[in-house]
Every structure is written in structure tokens, then in C-alpha cells.
Amino acid sequence: MRQVTHIFKRELNVYFVSPIAYIVISIFLLVTGWFFFTTFFLYNQATLRNFFALLPMTFSFVVPAITMRLFSEEFNVGSYETLLTLPVTFLDVVLGKFLAGLAFITIMLVPTLAYPVTVSLLGQLDWGPVVGGYLGAILLGASFTAIGLFASSLTRNQIIAFIVGMAICFTLTLIDKMLFFLPQSLLGVLEYLGADFHFENISKGIIDSRDVLYFLSVCFVALYGTHLALQERH
């Protein structure tokens, strides 16, 4: 497990030595800030619901942009060979990189804490949905990181990794909005597959074990897929 920490620290460090971190964080804050505050005063309600409602969409393209380099770059440069011949297991590598991506997303969310603070100054803010929303955001971020990591482990081309990751994340986000033309019997199943559906529940402030379990299983499946992809390469 100590190897996981070393890999985690290295990966997280790399984000902040290079300009990627600052660019991605700026874009994320600009996009979310813009969409949230342009409509905020029209509703005249002290709530962050709009901010959280948009999060699955923004995460769908921001998270794969963060995770695309995790494996693809290493395959491309060849440093993957030096890494894997160190005394580490596949699991160490997968977990270390996953946690680094997740930590980065958590750090990215920190500046948005300014929104609830601002809003609470303007009116009566209900903190329950806010706490739920942030918890949901981290769970959602974890799932999308795992998916992005999986996409990255498939190819040595970062752009392909980004597009594949984004496609999967978008599908999970939009799937429950595409259900109107499907038979009734399939509705429940497909709705349950949608990330947005579960995220919405949590961000209302209702922390249901089913929703938490959903996100944890997405993480597990994607990380397991990554592990398999690496073994296949071996």
C-alpha cells in the first residue's frame, strides 16, 4: 500500500508542476460560475440547485481531460516500462493514479465553496442540500475519474482517451433524459444506470445508500476494467 502513496503523490505533483492543473481549474470555474450566476438572480432563490444540476455535464468533459494523460502519456513516452519494472503491482498503479485524479477533482471543487458562502450572505441558504451536493460531486467525480482512467488505459493517444472517456461519461449523464421513447418496462433499469439520476437524489440532500452504492459500483467496474486492460498489455 505504501507504493500507492508514492505513485499518488507523484501523479498529483505532476498536475501542479505543469500548467494543466491551472488551465483546467480556471476553465471549470469559469464555466460553472458563468452558468450558475447568469440565472441565479432571475430565480431569486438562495439555492445552489442550478450549480449542482449542471455539474454532471461539466464533469463529463472536464474529468476526462484531467484523466486522459494518466496512462496514455506513459504508454506513449515509454515510462510505463520503467514504472512497471519497479517493485509495484498493477493494483498499486491503478489505485495510485485513480486517487491522484480524485484528489485533483476535490481540489478543483474547493474554490467553488465561495458560491455557498456568497449565497448564504444574500439569503437563507439550506445547508443540507449543499453538503449533500458536495458529497455527491465527489462520488460523481470518483466515478468519472475511474471511467476516464479506464479510457486512458486503452490507448497511447491522449486525444482518443479523452474522447472515449467523455463519450462514456456523457452517456451516463444523459441516459435518463433519453427515456421517453422507450417501453415502460425498460425505464426503471435504464434510469438506474444514469449517473445524473443518482446525483440529483444526493444533491437534494437525501443520501440514499442505493445512490452511494451506484457510484461505488461504477468506480469498481471501471477500475477493474483498467486492471484488466493493463494485464492484457502485459
Binding site: 513516452v77 515509454g78 520503467t82 519494472t85 519497479l86 517493485p87 502485459h234
Partner: protein, 311 residues
């Protein structure tokens, strides 16, 4: 120390390494020679656990690659071809990362990194990003990376490729120095390098081992001919042939060109006997001027070419 048995690797039906067997003993420096695409890198990658063999077994000490991969990785230091390292890290951070993953004890980390920086001549570039280093320096960082935890076995894939002649000599010196206590396996296609540094040579071609032994044994075992080159003045080929062809052991006298009034002649001899004295005595009886006289020993290069040429 290392025991390789029937090692085979297929890439999508293409056979890269075909049933090779060899042993490496403790403290041996082994060079893996072969033309491009012979399977050198694949063999080394399987040894270090980066690739899984299609079939066959690798044993290092009492560990097998299937069951104790982590233990084997701990015993080995590996420098891949072209030293692919993390481009975006500075040298010091990188070595620090390797020291941590390699489980160098915390209090010994700094001294070990210093020691390696001195050994590999890295002090000047310690604070530069790896991406900005020249090929030679990157190779040295890779070498430091491989030696971090003072491994029992050092595996180097073309350690001197892309270096200038001074650096090549330096790296060879390092290899020789550490090779006194450690087992080293390195691949190369530079033959003089193998000759200069290693105890034993394994030549592979198209995934098969075609020769295995010390450079001396290889030279002795391959072919039994010695060539003697003569350069003479004041004579012509016919009379030289007349005078020398009946020496016992000389199998052929052939012309090797003319340069102004200097005549070059090549004698092929059975190498069981040294004929140089006899030849000189014959020449002394004539009024020829002897310009040059040297015996060509079969070089590793010739052996290599014979063993690996395309049919």
C-alpha cells in the same frame, strides 16, 4: 543466479523469442548480442517482468516469475532502451521517487542519491527537468534509476546507444566497476563493447540463441583459418606465390591489390600452427622489401556476421 528455460514469446502469431535457454551466474557480466529485431529487448523485458512469456520459465534465485514477480522486481534494476523516464520531473525529484518506491530506507535516501549522482556524473543537472536533458544525461539518470537500491541483478538494454565516445567509455567503466560484485545482463549491437566489458556473450538471431560463451571461446570455436597480410615492394605476385605456396599449412596465396609499387598479398593458413617465423625466413632469402606483415585474428565482428547473416 538466473535460470531461463525454453523461454518463448509470440506477438500476434509472430515469434519474437523462440525456446531459448541460458543461465547467468552470480557476478557475471553477460552481453546479449544480435541484429535489430533479433529478440534482445523482448528477452530482457520478460526477464524483468514487463512482458509475460508465452511459455517457458524464468527463475531468479529461488523465485519464479509467475509466482514471485514482486520479489524478482526487487532484486533487479532495469534500464529500458532509450531510457524512457518521466519527462516532466526534475532529476532530483525523479530519483527521490524511485528511492521511495524502491524502499530505500528514509535516512539513507539522500546519501544514496548523492552517491549515485557522483557515480553517474549527475551533479550538474540535478535540478533540470528530464525532458530538457541531452540523450547522454538521460541515459545516466536511467542508470542511476536502475542502480538505486543496489540491486543484485542489473539489466541494461543498450546502455550506450546515443552516447558520445567519452560517455561510452565512462558507462563501460561504471558497468565494469559494479560488475565486480553484481550480475549484469546488457544488450548491445556494438561488438567492441561486448568485447571490452563482458565475461560472456550470448548471440541471438531471429529469437534463437546461435552462440553462447566467452569471447575467447567463440573466436576459437568458429572456423580454423588465420589470415596473414603482407605488403611487399620490389616483387610481383607470381614470384611471391612461387616462394610461399609450398610452406606447410598455407592453404592459399591470393592477391589483395596493388598500390603504386607496393604489392598486397593475403595468405590463408591453418591456424593450428604459427607460420609467421617460416614465412619471414622465406622472405629474408629474397631481395624483396617487406613493408607490412600482420596476422589477422578472427574478430568477433566476423563471427557475428557469420552467425547472423540472412540465408
Amino acid at each position: 543466479m538466473i535460470h531461463v528455460e525454453n523461454l518463448t514469446k509470440y506477438y500476434d502469431g509472430l515469434c519474437a523469442v523462440d525456446q531459448i535457454n541460458f543461465d547467468v551466474h552470480k557476478g557475471e557480466i553477460l552481453a546479449l548480442l544480435g541484429p535489430n529485431g533479433a529478440g534482445k529487448t523482448t528477452t530482457l523485458r520478460m526477464l524483468t517482468g514487463f512482458l509475460r512469456p508465452t511459455s517457458g520459465s524464468i527463475r531468479v534465485r529461488d523465485f519464479t516469475i509467475d509466482e514471485n514477480q514482486l520479489e524478482i522486481k526487487r532484486l533487479m534494476g532495469y534500464l529500458p532502451e532509450l531510457a524512457p523516464l518521466y519527462q516532466d520531473m526534475i532529476v532530483y525529484d525523479y530519483l527521490n521517487f524511485v528511492a521511495k518506491v524502491r524502499e530505500v530506507p528514509g535516512n539513507a535516501e539522500l546519501s544514496r542519491i548523492r552517491q549515485l549522482a557522483d557515480l553517474c556524473g549527475l551533479n550538474r543537472v540535478m535540478h533540470q527537468p528530464i525532458a530538457e536533458l541531452s540523450r547522454g544525461f538521460r541515459q545516466r539518470v536511467g542508470l542511476a534509476h536502475a542502480m538505486m537500491n543496489d540491486p543484485e541483478v542489473l539489466v541494461l538494454d543498450e546502455p550506450t546507444s546515443g552516447l558520445d565516445p567519452n560517455q561510452i567509455v565512462e558507462i563501460r567503466e561504471i558497468i565494469k566497476k559494479i560488475g565486480k560484485e553484481k550480475t549484469i545482463i546488457f544488450s548491445t549491437h556494438i561488438l567492441s563493447e561486448a568485447e571490452a566489458t563482458c565475461d560472456r556473450v550470448v548471440i541471438i538471431n531471429r529469437g534463437k540463441i546461435v552462440a553462447d560463451g566467452s569471447t575467447e571461446t567463440l573466436k576459437q570455436s568458429s572456423g580454423s583459418k588465420t589470415l596473414i597480410n603482407l605488403s611487399l615492394q620490389n616483387t610481383d605476385f607470381e614470384s611471391v606465390k612461387q616462394a610461399l605456396h609450398d610452406i606447410e599449412g598455407v592453404s592459399a596465396v591470393s592477391p589483395a591489390g596493388q598500390e603504386g609499387d607496393i604489392l598486397h598479398v593475403r595468405l590463408s593458413c591453418q591456424s593450428s600452427k604459427d607460420l609467421r617465423g617460416e614465412i619471414y625466413r622465406r622472405i629474408k632469402q629474397t631481395d624483396w622489401t617487406l613493408i607490412e606483415f600482420h596476422q589477422e585474428t578472427k574478430s568477433l565482428e566476423n563471427i557475428f556476421r557469420e552467425l547472423t547473416k540472412e540465408n
